[in-house]
Structure formats: structure tokens, C-alpha cells
């Protein structure tokens, strides 16, 4: 009796053990697949982000091309040439202008009192948390005063810490106010005993770029010795045109936005490019290259670096694009100026300009040596050997940089010599990554602090977060796919020898990779993007099923629509440049001339007459000018599931 009951107990516990093992095994498999899906989604975001930046950099060569040709074509319309070549006339009467802008009594937003004090910092942070908007009068006052003080700062600030005075280093914020508030909540507001370095990219992408700037600039004006700002690649008026900050300003400040943008454009050029802490740690936004020379960087006139997209003009008419032909490992040793007895130039020399680009755009990689950063189109990839050499050459121990989103908010590489810190959590999408900041003091190891902003009071379960992330990533990937529909169909049909409408997954993956030039795990993603039958054959036209580009005018060719959709970010940037007074309108003639140049430089196979027809059709007023925001908005994409949702709501 005893025997049989204990053996049945044994049997029971053996069954329970087996059951437990089954559940644990299943859970771990499930969890791992979620983790992999999360990585795939992040890979999609990252590769599209860098491809976009590369596209932006390519505009640089287009502008050089434009300058070369536009001047010939439009000798009596030098507006564009002036815009790009001449420096903004000094806004000497801006002080008077600010006084003319009256803050009404009815304004219930934050009010600043000059000279600024700690109270102003606090009141700004509180006000912005409640989504208030700072009046343009104060914005302009802060900008003008900030520019004045920044002009007195060196290119690279030297800072000392002590055990009682640690310094905090933050990375990219990209307009995410919640993250800045979270940092201040955890780490305290800036003060003499709580110094900060903000390492660039304060603006673009997020929706509170101006608020972040205001908090940072006001803090800087109150504590100029303890709040350090480094320029990032997004502190650049041309980047702002494409990545959202210009729009944010014009939307929040309808009356005075243009003025704000003008002052900001110049202010950016006065931001220091780096900080050195305790003569040991170099803090810069992007990275370094084989030829990085801190002495040169200390000396150059940083305010001549207007934009990464406006390379210095060369006398002989050559473009600065030969910079990009810098071969692997070759050091750029151009002399300081091209012609030493030139009259003082408004530009940096080519060599100086490249040095700044490297600082703002480069990324560390594990491969040795220094290579052009082909992903982004600017700066380099630098290896651990480059780091070791440059650091030792300048007697430094560590490089802290930002510029790249890291899942944990920070990452250490190059044997601990390079640290990336990124402070915008949920950068790509809710749940995509944490943010971090670093605390340093002399003689102690750096300390890392992580955080993640979340809307809910508690974190959603992992599978839900992965779902959100994945859906978002697939959505933007599909937008890239539809933008290359014609080229993709050609490629598919080339593989489809039997004209069956089907190809193998392998062939499909090959076509996607070669046309879209995004290094992604296409096979693993195929399930989300195409229909695959049981024999593993892909119905390739299903790549385009869930999404289409809205046609603004019926009679226009799909290929034209697709092309304009594909280049719309570039076109937007170019339009905004031409529209120097930010009116939102350009003339038909300007549009035609610009389009001609664009088409020939980018080798777009669209006839001018087609574009003409389209532009005319969209000039509703028939007054000879195009509202280009309307023009560009017309080329939007409709996702099928969104359309269904709309029908349900209004059905």
C-alpha cells in the first residue's frame, strides 16, 4: 500500500516535472522570438534613418551643382545664389525688433526676467510640462542674448571636475521634452554644483525642440561656466528643414517664426564643437577621423560652418565633393587655404570644413582604419586603432560621443576608450530603446544612468511592446517599398522567367536588397511583406498590396507620382531654400528651373512637360505660384488598414 501510493506520487511528480519543463521551454522559445522580432524592427529603423541621412548629404552635391548651373540659367534672378553663397546680413537691429514685439497682458505663459536667474529655469520647465508656449518676444530675447554670449566661447571648452563637483553628460535629445524632464528629475536642475554637458542634436524629430532649446539656453545664460553645449549635426538650418524643427517653429510661431529661424541659423554656428574634461576626456557629438587635429579645431573660425550641406566654394569651380573620394586609409593633408594670398574668405578652407564634418558625423566601428561613412554620406567610420592614435596624440584617455541610438542608452567600445551616450528614449517608437546619461568626476570611473519614458503607469507586457515597434517599422519599410515600385517590378520580372507572377523567396530577397539598398534580413521579414504559398513561392506583386500612393491628379502617370513621392524630402528641402522668406510659395518659373536641375542631377527619367502639367494642375489659384507644402502633401501614402479604420469610423 505504502509502495503503490508513493510510486503513484512519484509518477505524479514526474508528470508535473515534465509539464513544467514543457511550459518553461515554450516560454523561452516564445520570448526569444519576440526578442528577435524586436531586433529586426530596430534594424529596419536604423537602416532607414541612415539611408535618409545619406540622401540628405547627397543634396550637398546637388547644391554645388545648382550653384554652378543656376547662375548661368538665371542671371537676373540671383536670389537663390545669394541665399546659398552670401552670409546672412548681420541682424544688428534685432534688439530693436524684439522691443517692438509686445507681450500682451492676456498672455498667460511663462514670463522671463532679464538678467535671468535660476527661477526662470524652474518656471520654464514647469510651464513647458503643462504644454505652454513661450512668447516669441522672450524666445527672441533669449536667442539674441545666447548668441552674444556664445560668441565669446572658444571652439572647445576646457572643464575641470572634482569629487564634490561631478559633471553630467547627456546625448541626443531630439526634441523629446519628457526625457529632459526625466533627467532633471533624477539628476537635478543645472547649477554651479551640478554642471552639465549637452552633446548636440537638441532638435528635430521630437515635437518640443524649441522648448528644449529654451531650457538649455536659459540655463546656459544663468550658468555659462557650468552648462556646456556642443553642436550636433542637427544644429544646422538645412537639417532642420528636412527633419521637422523648421516646421515646428513656423507652426508654433506663425507671426515671428521667420525671424526666430533667421537668428537660430546664425546662433548654431556659434555653438562650440567640443568639450574637454580634466584634460582627459573629449566630448564631441559624432566622432573622429584619421586626420582629426584638435589644434586646428581649436583655431578655426567655427561660425563659418553654416551647414553640412553648403561646402566651401572653390575658386576653380571644382566642387567640394572630391572630399568624398577620400580613399581608405588616406590622410587628408590639404594646406590651410587653397590660395594663401586670397582676400579673407567667408568660408572655412576645405580641410577645416572636413575636420568639422568628421567631428559631427563620424561613427566608431570595430574594423580597424578609417573609411568614408557610406551609410550616412558624411564623416567616417573610425576603428580602435584610430581612436588609440588620436587620443594618445592629444594626451587624452577617453572619447564620449553621441549621434547613434543605442538600445540601452549607452554603449562602450574600442576597449573602453569610446563611449556613446544617447538620451532620447523611445527614439524610433515607444519601447525601442532606453536613454542614458553619464556622471564623471576626476579620479573616478564614469557612472551610467538609464531611464525610459513611458506613458502608462506600468510597462506594457513585452509582446505588446514588440508588436507596436514591429508594426511601426513595417509601416515605414512599406513606404520605402512603394516609393520604388516601378524599379522593383522590373527586377521581379527579370527573375520571373516563366512570367508566372511568382518567384522564390531567395530571388525576392535578392531584388529587395539590390533595389532598396537596405541591409536587412529580408527572408525573415518576408512574412510581413509578401504572400508566400505553401511551396515557398512568393507572389511578388503582393509586395504592393497594402499600400498605395494617393494620386493628386488623375491623369498623371503613376511613375511620376512615385518619383515625386520618393524625392519629396529632398524637394522639400530645396523648396525651403528657394523660399527664403518662408512664405510657403514659390513661383512657377522657379519651380520649373529647379525641377530641371534636380532632374538632370539625379537622373530622373521624367519629362519636364509631365511635371509642368502637374504643377499647373495644382496651381489652383492660377496666380503663377505654388504652395509647395500643399504640393508635397498631395504625395502621401495610404496604408490599407488605416483606410479601413477610417471607413469603419465614418461608415
Amino acid at each position: 500500500m505504502g509502495c503503490s501510493s508513493s510510486s503513484s506520487k512519484d509518477k505524479r511528480s514526474e508528470t508535473m516535472l515534465k509539464a513544467t519543463l514543457i511550459i518553461q521551454n515554450w516560454y523561452r522559445g516564445n520570448r526569444a522570438r519576440l526578442k528577435a522580432r524586436q531586433q529586426y524592427a530596430l534594424a529596419i529603423f536604423r537602416s532607414i534613418e541612415y539611408a535618409d541621412e545619406q540622401g540628405q548629404m547627397q543634396l550637398s552635391s546637388f547644391f554645388s551643382f545648382m550653384l554652378e548651373n543656376y547662375a548661368h540659367v538665371h542671371q537676373d534672378d540671383p536670389k537663390l545664389v545669394n541665399r546659398l553663397v552670401k552670409i546672412q546680413h548681420d541682424i544688428k537691429n534685432s534688439r530693436d525688433l524684439v522691443d517692438l514685439i509686445v507681450v500682451p497682458d492676456s498672455y498667460d505663459g511663462p514670463r522671463l526676467q532679464f538678467p535671468l536667474t535660476f527661477t526662470d529655469i524652474v518656471s520654464l520647465v514647469e510651464a513647458f510640462k503643462q504644454q505652454q508656449i513661450l512668447h516669441a518676444h522672450y524666445v527672441l530675447e533669449v536667442l539674441i542674448e545666447t548668441k552674444r554670449v556664445l560668441m565669446q566661447m572658444p571652439n572647445i571648452t576646457h572643464v575641470k571636475t572634482s569629487p564634490s563637483k561631478e559633471i553630467t553628460i547627456c546625448g541626443d535629445l531630439h526634441g523629446k521634452l519628457d526625457d529632459l524632464c526625466l533627467i532633471f528629475y533624477k539628476n537635478g536642475l543645472p547649477s554651479e554644483n551640478n554642471p552639465y554637458v549637452f552633446n548636440g542634436d537638441f532638435v528635430d524629430r521630437g515635437k518640443n525642440s524649441i522648448e528644449i532649446l529654451m531650457i538649455l539656453f536659459v540655463s546656459f545664460l544663468v550658468f555659462p561656466e557650468d552648462l556646456h553645449l556642443n553642436r550636433g549635426n542637427h544644429e544646422d538650418f538645412m537639417m532642420n528643414l528636412r527633419y521637422g524643427f523648421t516646421k515646428e517653429i513656423l507652426h508654433k510661431y506663425k507671426l515671428h517664426g521667420k525671424r526666430i529661424l533667421q537668428i537660430l541659423e546664425e546662433l548654431y554656428t556659434w555653438l562650440p564643437i567640443g568639450t574637454i574634461i580634466d584634460d582627459e576626456v573629449l566630448v564631441i557629438h559624432g566622432g573622429i577621423s584619421e586626420s582629426t587635429d584638435l589644434n586646428l579645431l581649436h583655431r578655426l573660425e567655427r561660425n563659418k560652418m553654416r551647414s553640412v550641406l553648403i561646402p566651401p566654394m572653390k575658386d576653380s569651380g571644382e566642387y567640394a565633393t572630391d572630399l568624398k573620394q577620400n580613399k581608405v586609409g588616406e590622410t587628408v593633408t590639404a594646406p590651410g587655404r587653397i590660395k594663401p594670398n586670397e582676400s579673407p574668405s567667408e568660408d572655412l578652407s576645405v580641410c577645416e570644413w572636413k575636420q568639422v564634418i568628421d567631428i559631427l558625423w563620424s561613427d566608431p566601428r570595430s574594423k580597424k582604419g578609417c573609411y568614408p561613412n557610406t551609410c550616412r554620406g558624411g564623416g567616417c567610420y573610425f576603428g580602435p586603432d584610430v581612436t588609440a592614435r588620436i587620443l594618445s596624440r592629444h594626451q587624452l584617455k577617453m572619447l564620449i560621443r553621441s549621434h547613434e541610438c543605442k538600445p540601452e542608452g549607452y554603449e562602450i567600445c574600442h576597449d573602453g576608450k569610446v563611449v556613446t551616450v544617447f538620451s532620447a528614449s523611445n527614439y524610433y517608437e515607444e519601447g525601442s530603446n532606453r536613454g542614458a546619461y553619464i556622471k564623471l568626476s576626476s579620479g573616478m570611473n564614469p557612472q551610467f544612468f538609464q531611464y525610459q519614458v513611458t506613458k502608462a503607469t506600468c510597462l506594457k507586457p513585452f509582446y505588446k511592446r514588440v508588436n507596436t515597434l514591429e508594426m511601426s517599422a513595417i509601416k515605414i519599410l512599406k513606404e520605402r517599398i512603394i516609393a520604388r515600385k516601378s524599379d522593383l517590378i522590373c527586377a521581379f520580372q527579370l527573375e520571373d522567367k516563366k512570367n508566372s507572377g511568382q518567384i522564390s523567396v531567395s530571388q525576392w530577397a535578392f531584388c529587395m536588397e539590390s533595389i532598396l539598398r537596405l541591409n536587412l534580413p529580408w527572408r525573415s521579414l518576408s512574412l510581413h511583406l509578401v504572400d508566400i504559398d505553401r511551396d515557398g513561392k512568393v507572389d511578388y506583386m503582393s509586395s504592393f498590396h497594402d499600400i498605395h500612393i494617393e494620386k493628386p491628379v488623375k491623369e498623371v502617370h503613376s511613375a511620376l507620382i512615385e518619383t515625386l513621392y520618393r524625392y519629396r524630402s529632398d524637394l522639400e528641402t530645396v523648396f525651403n531654400i528657394i523660399d527664403s522668406d518662408h512664405s510657403g510659395l514659390i513661383s512657377m518659373e522657379e519651380f520649373r528651373a529647379m525641377w530641371k536641375l534636380f532632374r538632370s542631377h539625379y537622373s530622373v527619367p521624367i519629362e519636364d512637360s509631365q511635371v509642368d502639367y502637374l504643377a499647373n494642375a495644382m496651381d489652383v489659384n492660377k496666380d503663377g505660384s505654388i504652395d509647395f507644402n500643399e504640393f508635397l502633401k498631395a504625395f502621401h501614402v495610404v496604408h490599407r488598414y488605416e483606410k479601413l479604420k477610417k471607413d469603419v469610423n465614418f461608415g
Binding site: A19, I22, Y27, R28, G29, N30, A32, A36, S366, R523
Partner: protein
């Protein structure tokens, strides 16, 4: 026989590409290595379900003689290809999983209490870490009753996977 061998070669070639893709997503440095702690994730993302013990053995196969903390692709590829060709570590069918939960649910309630689940998962078999336990609970638990309605939970996860 020759035909079968050819089919196997084709299958292996296809597996190679799949394995390479899955590996590259975790190869953050783009130098054909991944952190050994990610190997389990990679293997499972390819559809296999080894137990912790089996995973441990697999890692031993692909590690360097002197473990570096990194696994090289050249070592991983042949081992993983073989695993896929032999269809090893097949995932658990949904009905088997359901029955496993039912076994633990000795009172046949249709649900497990939070305490019961924690006890089994963290004390028996290949125990969960605290992080794993918290994560499973966050998805599985019904906040109102503080219990796990396992049939619904399994169904939800299965839909999500597909």
C-alpha cells in the same frame, strides 16, 4: 539517392542564408561574431526549441576552445545547419502545451493562481530567473482575478506568433 542528396544540398543552401540573416541582426559590430548570450535567442528565432540543457550543449559545440564570450559565424553555421536539416528541437504543439498547464492545474479550475505558477516555474524543472518570471506574469496574468487563464493566454500568444 542522388536526387535526395541534391535536395538536401539545396535545403542546406537555403538554411545557410536564413541562418546568416538571423546571425547578422545580432552581429552589432558587423564582424561575424555575436555575444554568446544571444546565441539562445538566435537559435530559437530560427524556430527551434532546445531546452536550457540542450542549449548549453550546443553552445559548447560552437564556442572557441578558450571561450572568448563571442561566437564566430564560421563555427555556428555548420552546427546550426545540421540542427535545421535534422529538424531537431521541434517546437511544442499547442495541444501538448495546453495539457501541460492542465496537469499543473490539479484542481481543474481552468486557471492557475499567481502563487501556483510562480512556485512551479521558479522551483522546478529548469527554473525561471526573477526577470523571466516577472515578464511571464506581466503578459499572462488577469489583473482582476490575479490568476492565469492559461487557455486564453496560450491562444493569445499563438495568434501573436502568426
Amino acid at each position: 539517392m542522388a536526387e535526395e542528396k541534391e535536395r538536401e544540398e539545396l535545403a542546406a543552401a537555403e538554411f545557410h542564408k536564413k541562418i546568416k540573416e538571423a546571425f547578422e541582426v545580432f552581429d552589432h559590430e558587423s564582424n561575424n561574431t555575436v555575444d554568446v548570450r544571444e546565441i539562445g535567442t538566435i537559435i530559437r528565432s530560427l524556430g527551434c526549441c532546445p531546452s536550457e540543457g540542450e542549449l548549453h550543449d550546443l553552445i559548447a559545440e560552437v564556442e572557441e576552445e578558450e571561450p572568448t564570450g563571442y561566437i564566430r559565424f564560421e563555427k555556428f553555421l555548420p552546427v546550426m545547419t545540421q540542427v535545421l536539416l535534422e529538424r531537431k528541437y521541434r517546437p511544442i504543439p499547442e495541444d501538448v502545451l495546453l495539457r501541460a498547464f492542465e496537469v499543473l492545474d490539479s484542481a481543474k479550475h481552468g486557471f492557475l493562481t499567481k502563487e501556483e505558477l510562480i512556485k512551479y516555474m521558479t522551483e522546478e524543472g529548469e527554473p525561471f530567473s526573477q526577470e523571466e518570471m516577472e515578464e511571464m506574469l506581466s503578459a499572462a496574468i488577469d489583473p482582476e482575478s490575479n490568476s492565469i487563464h492559461y487557455k486564453d493566454y496560450i491562444t493569445m500568444m499563438a495568434i501573436d506568433e502568426n
